[in-house]
Point group: C2
C-alpha cells in the first residue's frame, strides 16, 4: 500500500468520500453544500430573464456607482484573516484568470496572541480546518482494508457469545447445554447474511449502505426506517462497544469495577475530542488494533485448545447457578437474538467497496469472505471453549476474561489479551463516529435531515453530528449503568432492522434487474432477508418488555418526523423558485399571488392622495428609528436611517405622561429634525407596545416596506452582554412573522 499523504483524513473518511463520488453528480453535491448555483433548467432561465426585465421597470436607471472596488484589486492592503475562527480562518487573494476573489486557508493561521483565551482553547479542541482536497482516492490492499473495516464485526465476539450465554444461564446451569445448538444456528445465520452481503457488493460496486439500498428499491418509508435503524445502530455501537471495552479492562483490574460508568464516559469523551479534533493518521495504523486483536484471540484459542486437549477435551461441569427463568422456546429465541449481535458490523465492507484496489468489487467480496470466515472461527472456537470449560456469566468479569485467566493465569499473556480486546472495542466505537455523520449526509441529500449535515467540509456541521452521537451514547451508557447485557436487546433491533431492509431491497433489485445469475442472487438475498427478519421479529417480541418497546415505538415516530422534514424542504423549494409565471406581473417584481408579500397586489392600493405613480417609488419605504433615550447610540442610528434618503419616523416609548413631556422637550431642543411619535405605556411594557404600534402602521399601509432601525450597544466582553437590554432580539423575534417588516441593527461600539 502506498503511504498516505500527510494531509489526508483517516481512510474511513476517505472511503466515504470515494464512495460518494459516483453516486452524486457534481452539481447536486454542490447544491448540497448550500452555497452554490445548481444548473438551471430552460424554464427557470426564462423566468429569471423575465424577472430581470421587470426589475428594469421597477428600478429604472443605471445603478449608482460603487464607492469601493469590489474586486479588491486597487487595494494594496488586504486585512489579516479574521479572528472569527468558529469557521476555518481564511485570507483572500485575487485569482489570476477570472475576476473572482478566492478564499484560502490562512497562511500563518490566526494571530494566536490576539485571540482571547476561549477562542484559543476552542481552536485547540477543534483543530485546524478540514481541507476538502484532503478527501483523496486512497486505495487499500485487501489486508489493510480488512484491518480497517472489520473492527466492528470482529470485536462483536467480545460481547455476542456472552450475551447469548447470559440469557441461557437464566434457566440454570442445565440450560447451558443449549449453547452449542444455538451457536450452530447463529453460525448458519452468519453464513446466510454474509452470502447475502456478497451479492450486495456485486450489485452495488460503488458501495451501498442500508439506507440507500432500501430507499432505492423499497421506497422512501423503508429507506427512512433503515436510516433510523442505522442511527440507533451507531449510537448503540458506541455505547455497547465502549461498555464492553471497559468491562475488558475492569475484568483485569477488579478495583475499577465500581467506576465502570465513569470509565465509559471518559472513553466516550476521548473519542469525542479525538473526532472533533479530526485525528489524521495513515491507514496502516488503523488496521493495527484488528490484527492485534486477532493475534490475541489466536493465542487464546490455541492455548485453550491445547489445555483442553491436555485433559482429553473433557467438559468441566458448570457450577450451580440459580434459576430465574423457565427454559422454553421463548428463552431460546431470546438467547439466539442476543447472540446475533456477534455479527454487527458485517455490512461495513459493502458500504466501502470503492476503497479497494481494482477489481474493486471482487477484492471487496474476497475480503468479506475472509472476514466472515474469521468471525465464524472466532465465534465457534470461543463458544466451544466456553462450553468445555463450563464457564458461566459473572458480574465481576467478562467471559473472555474468565477464559483467558483460566488458560493462562493472570500473567502477561492475559493482560495482552484483555488490552487487545479493549483496544479493538474502542476502535469499533470509533468507526461509528465516522459512519454516523455519513448516514446523516446521505439523508440530508434526500432532504430527510437538516441540510447542515451536507456541509461535511464545514467542521461545525460535522461536529454537530459527532456531538449528538457522543452525548446520546453517553446518556444511554449512564442510564443503563454501563452494563452491556442491558443494552443488547435495543442493539439487536436497530441492527437487524437495517439488515432486513437492506436485503429485502436487494431482492427487489434483482427482481427488477434480472441480469446474469439474478435468480440465484435473489434467493441468496431473500434467504438473508428472511433470516434477518426472523431475528428482528424474535428480538422485538422476546425483548419487548426488556426495553425493546422503546425502539419499536420510537422508529415509526422518528420516521414520521423525518417525513415532515422532507415535506418542509419541498414546500420551501416550491416557494422560493424564481418562477415568473406565478409572480404577479403588474406589481413590478416579486410579490406572489395570494401573498401580501413585500409588494402587494393591486387590490391594496395606497390610500394617500399624494401618492401618484411618480411619488410611489419615493414613499414605498418607511424607516422607523427606535429612540428610547436621546443618547449617542440612538442619535447615530437616527442619522444612519436619515442618510438612506427614505422617510424616517422616530418612535419613543414612555412609561408615564410626564416622561413623554420631558422627552418631547429634549427632542425639540435637539431640533426635531425627524417626525416623532411617542407611545405611552403605563404598564411599563416596552417590546409589546412597539410591536403593536408597528403592526398598526403596517395594517394602515401594507404596501409600505417598514424597516425598524434599532440602536444596539455592542460590548467588548461576553460577560457584559447580559448587562444590556435584549430588546433587539425580542423585537426581531416578534416582528419576524410579519411580511413587509425588516429589522436592522445599527451597532454602537463602546470605546476600548
Amino acid at each position: 500500500m502506498e503511504r498516505a499523504p500527510p494531509g489526508t483524513r483517516r481512510p474511513c473518511a476517505a472511503a466515504a468520500a470515494v464512495l460518494r463520488r459516483p453516486e452524486i453528480p457534481d452539481g447536486e453535491l454542490n447544491l448540497a453544500a448550500g452555497t452554490t448555483q445548481p444548473p438551471l433548467t430552460e424554464p427557470e432561465l426564462r423566468s429569471l430573464g423575465e424577472l430581470g426585465r421587470r426589475w428594469q421597470q421597477a428600478v429604472p436607471g443605471a445603478p449608482p456607482p460603487l464607492p469601493v472596488d469590489p474586486s479588491l484589486r486597487r487595494t494594496g492592503h488586504i486585512p489579516q484573516p479574521s479572528r472569527f475562527t468558529r469557521f476555518a480562518p481564511v485570507s483572500l487573494f485575487q485569482a489570476e484568470g477570472s475576476g473572482d476573489v478566492v478564499a484560502t486557508e490562512a497562511a500563518g493561521g490566526e494571530p494566536a496572541a490576539a485571540a482571547p483565551l476561549v477562542r484559543r482553547l476552542r481552536r485547540v479542541a477543534l483543530g485546524p480546518p478540514l481541507i476538502s482536497s484532503a478527501v483523496v482516492d486512497e486505495r487499500m490492499r485487501k489486508l489493510t482494508a480488512m484491518g480497517v473495516l472489520s473492527g466492528d464485526l470482529l470485536s462483536s465476539v467480545a460481547y455476542g457469545p456472552q450475551a447469548m450465554v447470559t440469557v441461557l444461564a437464566l434457566a440454570g446451569a442445565g440450560a447451558l447445554s443449549l449453547e452449542l445448538p444455538v451457536g450452530i444456528a447463529l453460525i448458519l445465520l452468519i453464513l446466510t447474511v454474509g452470502a447475502s452481503y456478497r451479492q450486495t457488493i456485486r450489485a452495488y460496486p460503488t458501495g451501498a449502505g442500508s439506507y440507500i439500498v432500501a430507499n432505492n428499491n423499497l421506497g422512501e418509508l423503508a429507506g427512512l426506517a433503515a436510516a433510523v435503524g442505522l442511527i440507533t445502530d451507531y449510537i448503540l455501537t458506541v455505547a455497547v462497544s465502549v461498555a464492553a471495552g471497559v468491562a475488558a479492562v475492569t475484568s483485569a483490574l477488579p478495583e475499577l469495577q465500581s467506576k465502570q460508568v465513569l470509565l465509559g464516559l471518559i472513553v466516550i469523551a476521548v473519542l469525542l475530542a479525538g473526532n472533533l479534533r479530526g485525528v489524521r493518521q495513515a491507514g496502516q495504523l488503523f488496521a493495527a488494533p484488528t490484527y492485534l486483536f486477532l493475534l490475541a484471540m489466536g493465542i487464546l484459542i490455541i492455548g485453550g485448545l491445547v489445555q483442553a486437549a491436555g485433559r482429553g477435551f473433557a467438559s468441566v461441569p458448570p457450577p450451580h447457578i440459580s434459576v430465574t427463568a423457565v427454559l422454553g422456546p421463548l428463552l431460546i429465541l431470546r438467547a439466539f437474538a442476543s447472540g446475533a449481535t456477534s455479527m454487527t458490523g458485517i455490512e461495513a465492507v459493502s458500504n466501502a467497496v470503492p476503497v479497494f484496489r481494482d477489481v474493486q468489487w471482487r477484492n471487496a467480496r474476497t475480503t468479506l469472505t475472509w472476514m466472515v470466515s474469521l468471525l465464524l472461527v472466532l465465534f465457534g472456537a470461543l463458544l466451544l471453549l466456553i462450553r468445555i470449560n463450563g464457564l458461566v456469566p459473572s458480574s465481576s468479569q467478562t467471559m473472555l476474561s474468565e477464559l483467558a485467566s483460566g488458560v493462562f493465569g493472570r500473567g502477561a499473556v492475559y493482560v495482552f489479551i484483555q488490552a487487545a480486546t479493549a483496544l479493538e472495542l474502542v476502535f469499533a466505537a470509533d468507526t461509528a463516529f465516522n459512519d454516523f455523520p455519513r448516514v446523516l449526509f446521505y439523508m440530508a441529500r434526500n432532504d430527510h435531515a437538516p441540510r447542515a449535515f451536507l456541509r461535511i467540509g464545514d467542521r461545525l456541521a460535522y461536529s454537530n453530528g459527532i456531538i449528538v452521537l457522543a452525548v446520546t451514547a453517553a446518556v444511554i451508557l449512564a442510564a443503563f449503568g454501563g452494563k452491556t447485557e442491558s443494552l443488547i436487546p435495543l442493539y439487536a433491533l436497530g441492527v437487524f432492522l437495517a439488515f432486513t431492509l437492506s436485503q429485502a431491497g436487494m431482492v427487489v433489485h434483482w427482481w427488477r434487474r434480472r441480469d446474469r445469475h439474478w435468480r440465484r442472487s435473489l434467493v441468496v438475498n431473500g434467504t438473508g432477508a428472511v433470516a434477518s427478519g426472523a431475528v428482528l421479529l424474535t428480538a422485538a417480541v422476546t425483548k419487548f418488555a426488556a426495553g425493546a418497546w422503546v425502539v419499536v415505538v420510537g422508529i415509526p415516530l422518528a420516521v414520521a418526523c423525518l417525513l415532515r422534514v422532507k415535506a418542509h424542504y419541498t414546500a420551501v423549494e416550491r416557494a422560493t423558485i424564481p418562477d415568473a409565471a406565478t409572480i404577479e406581473p403588474d406589481v413590478g417584481s416579486l410579490a406572489r399571488p395570494g401573498l401580501p408579500g413585500l409588494h402587494p397586489a393591486a387590490g391594496a392600493a395606497p390610500p394617500q392622495a399624494a401618492d401618484g405613480p411618480a411619488a410611489r417609488a419615493e414613499t414605498r419605504h418607511l424607516l422607523i428609528a427606535l429612540v428610547l433615550h436621546l443618547d449617542l447610540p440612538s442619535l447615530q442610528a437616527l442619522e444612519f436611517a436619515a442618510s438612506l434618503r427614505a422617510p424616517v419616523l422616530a418612535l419613543h416609548v414612555s412609561t408615564e405622561d410626564s416622561d413623554a413631556q420631558r422627552f418631547r422637550q429634549a427632542w425639540d431642543q435637539w431640533g426635531a429634525h425627524v417626525p416623532l411619535e411617542v407611545v405611552v405605556s403605563p404598564y411599563r411594557a416596552v417590546a409589546g407596545p412597539i410591536v403593536n404600534y408597528i403592526e398598526a402602521l403596517h395594517a394602515q399601509r401594507p404596501d409600505v416596506l417598514l424597516t425598524v432601525v434599532l440602536p444596539v450597544i455592542k460590548v467588548r466582553r461576553p460577560w457584559q452582554r447580559p448587562l444590556h437590554s435584549r430588546l433587539g432580539d425580542h423585537l426581531r423575534r416578534a416582528l419576524e412573522r410579519h411580511r413587509g417588516i425588516a429589522v436592522m441593527e445599527v451597532p454602537f461600539h463602546l470605546p476600548a
Copy 2:
C-alpha cells in the same frame, strides 16, 4: 384592617413598593425603568441643540413626507393585540388631550384560540401581566404585619436549636449538658441584635435593608459585601427552610425518608411556579401560617411542660451516643454559631417599616419587640424541653418531631404540629422569593446589578430573579442531599455578614447624625455589631473546613464582579452622553475623537477621486446584498436593498470555480442589474470568506457605511428552525465588532 382591593399584589410586594417610594425620586425611578427620558442638565441641553444644528448641515432639506399617519388617527382599524405574549399583551388608543398613543392592557386578553399551545401554556404558567398601579399603599395592623413578617424569624426555631444540639452531640451525651449555657448565650445574642434593630427602625423610618444601610454609611464595598451576604442568605433560606419543612413531613411519614431530596425539589418547583404566576392574595391569609405555627408551638410547649411537671421536672438522661469529636472551645463555638441560625429573619421588620399604620416606626418597633419576645419564649422553652426529655438528634426525625411524639404520641395533635411547622417553613421560603428580586432592584439602581432587574413591572425581569433563586436553591439542596445540618454553616455566614455590616453602618449613622439619644443608640448598635461580628467570625473559623470556605472565598470574588458591573455601566454612560464638546465638529455629526466611528475624522479622507463634497452624501452608503442562490428570498432582498437608492453590491460565495461560472451565467440571464462579486471558497467555508471580504471592503473605505443585507427564510414552526441555515446569526455575531458595518435581515415568509 381594610380589605385589600382585589387587584393588589401580596402585601410583601406592596411593602417593597411603599418602601421604595421615599428613597427614589420619580425621575430616577423612571430612568431605572430603562425606557424614558431623565431630566437633562443645562450643558446637556446645549449639547443636544448643537448636535441638532450640525444635523441640519449634514442632512439638509426638509425630511421626506411620511407615507403613514404615525398617530394612527386616520386609521379606523387598529389591529388586535399582538400574539407576542412574552410581555404583557397591549392594545393602543389615542389619548384625548396629548398627541401620544397610549398602550393599555388588552381588554379581552389575547385570543386564546389563536395562540399556539406552547404560548397558552406559558401564559397559564406565568399568569396575567403585572399591573404597576397594583402596587398600592396597603397598611397593616400590627398583628397582621407580625404574621406576615415573622414567618422567616419564628420558623427558624424549627432548625436552629437542633443545629446547635447536633454539634454538641458530636462530643457525646455528656456534652449535651452544655445545651443550656450555650442557649443562654444565644438568648443574649438575640436580645442584643433585636435591640440593635429597634434602633435601625427609628433611624430609617422609611425602611432599610442591610445593603442600603451599609452602602449609605460604610461605602460601596461594605454595601456590596452586605448585598452578597443577603443574596446568599435568601438562597439558603429557601434551601434550609424547604429542607426543614420536608424533614417535618418525613418525620411524621418515615416511609418518605428516602425521598427527601425529591420532595424538596418538588416544593421548590411549586414555590417557583407560584411566584412566577404571581399569586395575588389578601394580607390576612399570609398571616395565617405564622399563627397556626404559634398555636402548634404553644400546644407543644404547654403539653411538654405539663408532662415534665408530672414527673417533677426530672431530666431524662440522654441515651448513649458515640463520641466523634473532642469537647473543646472550638466545638462550643461551633454549636453557638449553628444555634444562631435561630434568629435568621430578624431584620424583616426593619426592611418593611412603611407597611405599618401611623406612627409607623413606633408600631414597627413594637411589633419587633413582640416578635423577639415570642422567639425568645419559643427558643428557650423548646431548648428546655429538649434538655429535660434528654433528646438527641436522630437521622430519621427532627427533634421537634421527637419532642411532639414524646409528649402527645403520634396522634392528631402530633400531625397538626408537624403540618403547621412544615407550612410555616415553606411560607418562610416563600418570603425569600419576594425579597430576592427586591435586593437586586436596589442593587441595579446603583448600577451594581444588570439593569434588567429595575424593570420590576416587567414580568420577564422579575421572573429571571425568581428562576435564578429557585434553581440555585434546588442545586444546593440536591448537592447537600436535602440535609439541613450540612447547609447551616453556609447559612450562618451569609446572614451574620449582612447583620454585622448593617449594624456597623448604624454605628456610623449615629456618629454622623449625633441627634437625640445618639450615644445610647450608638452603644446599642455597636454592641449588636460586635455580637454579630463575633458570630460571623466564629462561623467562618469553626466551619471553614466544613464548607464555609466557599462563602469566605466567594464573597470577595462576587464583590469584585459587582464592581466590574458598575465600572462597565459608568463607562457606557460616559460613552453615550450626547456631549457636543467631545464630538468632532467638522464631520457633520456623531463621530467621536479617536474613534473611527461611523463618520471618521478628516484624516481618513475617501481615496476616490470622484468623491467631491457633493458626491459624498451619495456614496457614504454601500449595501452589500448576500446572494447565495438566485432564488426568491435573495431576489427579494436584492430588490429591498436596491429600492433604498444607495449603491448595492451583490455578493456570492462559490465553493468551486465551475459553480462560480454557472452562477455568473444565471446572473447574466437575470440581467446583472446590480454589480456582482463572487468569492470562491475551495475550503467550503461560507461565513469566514464573507466576513473577511466585508472587512477588506471596510479597510478600503472606512468612511463608507456598509450595510449587509441578508435574505432570511422565516419558518412558521419552531421545529423547522434548525432545518435552515443560521448564517445570519453567525454573520451578525462576526461583524458586530466592526464599527461602520450594520446588518439587516430581510425576512422571506413561507406561504401558510
